[in-house]
C-alpha cells in the first residue's frame, strides 16, 4: 500500500500544526464558534448532540496493521473504548474533547494518517472498491488513481470552499462495490480498444433528499489528462453550483438543472482551456505511486483446499469470503454487524485483534468497506480456519455479509444533530428478528439500509430494502422503500406507502421477505423478484 515520502509527511505534519493553532485561537476566544466551525469541519471535527465527533480518513479504505492498532488505541485513550466505521470507509469517534484533538491528529500523523477534508464543503476522502488489488475481475488496481486524486484534492486552493461537499469514488471492475454512480464524481477505470487504460467519468450522482444516479459525462479520459479533466469538472461546479440553498447545492442539482449535455459542454470548454495550463502531473508520478501497490509476496502454488467440516466455519466461508485473483488465497470480510449490535461499531480490543490478524495472515493489510465492515484482502486458504477461530472468539465471525443482518445504518438520533429519528435501535431489532443463520441463508442477499433523516447517510435510497426515519408530529416514524441498488445496476428505491412505528417497520420487512420467498423463481435474489413482480404484491401484503 501507499507509503508517505518526506513531502507527504510534511503535509500532514503541517496540517497538525495549523489545526493546533486554530484550536488555540478558538480556546483563546480569537475565533468565534461561527468562524471556527468551517475550519474544524475541514479536519473532520463535528459538534454532535453530546460531544465532539472526530472522523479520521482512511483513504480509499486501505489500512495497515500499525494504523489499525492506533485506531484501537485512540478509542481507548480518547473515546469510550470503541470506534465507528462509516459508509465512506472512514472511522469516527463519538466522544472526543476539543482540547485533545490536536494531540490525536499528531498521533495519527505518526502512522501516516489524518482527518483532512473528512467533512466540510470540499473534496472528501476518495472511496474505492474494498477488494481492489485482490479481486479476480478487476481491470487494474484503482487505488493508484485514487491516491493521485487524494494528493491533488488535498488543500486544493481553488476548491476548499465549494457550494457543498464533494465525494469521489474510483473503481476498476464491472462489479461496482463502491456505489460509484451515487457519487458527485464517479470514475471507472477502463481499457479502450487500443488496450490503453483511461478513466470513464460520471458526474452528478448522490443520495440525500434528492437522489440521482450520475450520468456518463466522458467515456475515456487519457491518464495524462486525468487531473486536468477533474479540475475542469470541479471548476464548473465551483463557479455555477447553487449557493442560495444548501439543499440544492450539490453538483447533482447543477447537472440536473443545466442538463447533462450542457454541463458536459461547459466542462469540455474548461478542459480545453486548462489543457493549455501546466497543471497535469507527469505520468512518472502515477508510475511512482503504482510501485506502492504491487502484489504482496504470494506463495506460488498455495493449496486451494479448505476443510469445511466445521459447519459454522463452512457457513462463514460461504457467506463472507470472495474469490481472490491468486490461487490458494481468498478475500475475507469481517462483519461488524453481530445480531443486536450497532452496525459498524468495533471495540478497541476488536480493532487491535483485526490489526494483529491482518499482520499475521493478510500481508499487513485491511480494508474498510462502505457497508461498514472490515476486509482481510489476502488470506491464504490454509490459514483461513485459524483466522476464523480467532474472529469467532472475539465475536467477529458473524456470517451475514450482504444478508438482511448486514445492515448499513447512520448514527441517527442517538448521536447526530441532524437526525429526525433513531437508526440504531431499528437496525438492532431487525437483526434480532432475522437472527437465525438458517433464516438469513434462506433469504439470501438482501441489502438493507437505514437513514435517520433525509440526508441519507445510511444510503436508504440504494437499499434493496431502505428505511427512512422521519419526524411525524414529534414521533419517530419510518418509511419503507423497496428496489434500490448501488451496484452496476444502480437504481433508487420506491416508497411503499404510509410510514410505520419502529416495531411496525420490522413487521413490514418480515412481510416483504415472505412475499419474496413465496414468489422467488430459481436463484432470484430479493431484488430480482421485486423487479420482476413489482411493488403491488408487496404493498398488498404489507398494508392489506
Amino acid at each position: 500500500m501507499y507509503k508517505y515520502d518526506e513531502y507527504d509527511q510534511q503535509m500532514v505534519d503541517t496540517r497538525v500544526a495549523e489545526f493546533r493553532d486554530q484550536v488555540r485561537r478558538r480556546l483563546a476566544g480569537d475565533l468565534t464558534e461561527d468562524q471556527f466551525k468551517p475550519l474544524r469541519l475541514q479536519n473532520g471535527l463535528y459538534l454532535q448532540l453530546h460531544a465532539y465527533m472526530l472522523r479520521v480518513a482512511v483513504p480509499y479504505g486501505t489500512l495497515n496493521s500499525a494504523q489499525m492498532t492506533l485506531l484501537g488505541d485512540i478509542a481507548d485513550k480518547y473515546d469510550r473504548g470503541y470506534g465507528h466505521f462509516t459508509t465512506r470507509q472512514n472511522i469516527q469517534y463519538n466522544w472526543i474533547k476539543l482540547e485533545d484533538t490536536p494531540d490525536i491528529l499528531a498521533e495519527l500523523a505518526k502512522v501516516e494518517m489524518h482527518a483532512i477534508q473528512t467533512s466540510g464543503n470540499c473534496i472528501r476522502n476518495i472511496s474505492s472498491d474494498q477488494y481492489a488489488g485482490a479481486a479476480a475481475e478487476e481491470i487494474v488496481d484503482p487505488r493508484p488513481y485514487a491516491e493521485l486524486l487524494r494528493q491533488w484534492s488535498s488543500f486544493h486552493p481553488e476548491f476548499l470552499v465549494l457550494p457543498r461537499k464533494f465525494k469521489i469514488a474510483v473503481i476498476a471492475s464491472e462489479t461496482d462495490r463502491a456505489a460509484m454512480r451515487l457519487h458527485d464524481i464517479g470514475i471507472k477505470m477502463v481499457k479502450n480498444d487500443a488496450g490503453e487504460i483511461g478513466a470513464q467519468f460520471y458526474a452528478g450522482g448522490g443520495m440525500g433528499r434528492t437522489p440521482m444516479i450520475a450520468p456518463l459525462i466522458r467515456d475515456f479520459v487519457p491518464l495524462d489528462q486525468l487531473i486536468t479533466y477533474a479540475e475542469a469538472c470541479l471548476r464548473v461546479y465551483n463557479r455555477y453550483g447553487r449557493r442560495d440553498n444548501k439543499y440544492k447545492a450539490r453538483i447533482k442539482i447543477l447537472v440536473h438543472e443545466l442538463g447533462r449535455d450542457e454541463y458536459v459542454r461547459q466542462v469540455e470548454e474548461e478542459f480545453a482551456h486548462l489543457l493549455t495550463q501546466p497543471i497535469e502531473p507527469p505520468l512518472a508520478e502515477l508510475e511512482r505511486i503504482k510501485t506502492h501497490f504491487t502484489d504482496p509476496g504470494f506463495e506460488a502454488g498455495a493449496s486451494d483446499d479448505l476443510d469445511l467440516t466445521d459447519p459454522d466455519f463452512r457457513l462463514w466461508v460461504e457467506r463472507n469470503t470472495h474469490a481472490h485473483k491468486q490461487a490458494g488465497y481468498v478475500i475475507a470480510t469481517v462483519s461488524l454487524k453481530p445480531v443486536g449490535g450497532i452496525p459498524g461499531d468495533a471495540s478497541a480490543d476488536q480493532i487491535r485483534l483485526m490489526a494483529q490478524l491482518a499482520k499475521d495472515y493478510s500481508f499487513d493489510e485491511l480494508r474498510v468497506t462502505h457497508a461498514q465492515n472490515i476486509v482481510f484482502p489476502h488470506v491464504k486458504k490454509a490459514d483461513l480456519y485459524t483466522v476464523w477461530q480467532a474472529l469467532d472468539a472475539a465475536g467477529l465471525a458473524t456470517a451475514n455479509l450482504d444478508t438482511v443482518g448486514d445492515i448499513i445504518a447512520c448514527p441517527g438520533l442517538d448521536y447526530c444533530a441532524l437526525a429526525n429519528a433513531r437508526s440504531i435501535p431499528v437496525a438492532q431489532k431487525i437483526s434480532e428478528r432475522f437472527g437465525s443463520a438458517e433464516r438469513q441463508a434462506e433469504i439470501g442477499e438482501l441489502k438493507l439500509k437505514i437513514s435517520g433523516c433525509i440526508n441519507a447517510c445510511g444510503h436508504h435510497h440504494a437499499g434493496h430494502i431502505g428505511i427512512l426515519g422521519v419526524d411525524k408530529k414529534g414521533l419517530e416514524n419510518y418509511q419503507l422503500l423497496l428496489g434500490g441498488s448501488e451496484g452496476a445496476d444502480t437504481s433508487l428505491g420506491q416508497i411503499t406507502g404510509p410510514g410505520f412505528t419502529e416495531d411496525g417497520v420490522v413487521d413490514a420487512i418480515e412481510k416483504a421477505t415472505e412475499v419474496y420467498l413465496a414468489n422467488k423463481q430459481g436463484e432470484e435474489r430479493f431484488l430480482d423478484t421485486y423487479r420482476r413482480i413489482g411493488m403491488a404484491p408487496f404493498k398488498e401484503a404489507i398494508y392489506g
Binding site: 510534511q10 503535509m11 494528493q151 486552493p157 476548499l160 507527469p282 511512482r288
Partner: protein, 143 residues
Amino acid sequence: MVEVQFRFREDEAVNDPAVTVDAFAAQTNATAVRIEPGDDARDLLPHLDRLSLVEVSFPAWTDGRGYSSARILREAGYKGEMRAVGDLVIDMLHHLKRCGFDAFAPDKALNDQDARTAFDRWENVYQATAVDGRPAIWAKRHG
C-alpha cells in the same frame, strides 16, 4: 474604502475606484474593476490590457467563487494587482495567494502575526495552479 493590510507587490498601490463588471465594459477609461461572486470573470478578458486593479469581493469567506475568478484572470495573463476584499480569514490567506491574489483588504484587520504565519505555513504544495509560480510536489519528486 477598505484598507489593504497585506500586499505582495513592488509597484505603486492602485487607488482608482473600482467599478462593477457591467460598468467596466462601458467605461473605457476605467482601470479598476470589482468582481462580485456571481460575476463571470471571463467577461473581462477582452479588456485585460487596460486593467490595473481587480478587486474580488468575498461577502462571506465560505463562498469560494472568487478563487476561480482570480485564477481564471491570472491564467489569461493578467499581471496587475489582484485584491481580495471582504470577509477574509487567516486560514485561507495562503490558498487565496495560490490562486493569484497579491493584495488583501479584510473587512476587519487580522492579527498581523497570525496572518504572516498563515501565509508562510505551507512549504510545499500538492498541485500546480500555474499562477503562483510554485512547483508542485510531483515536480520536485521528478525534478
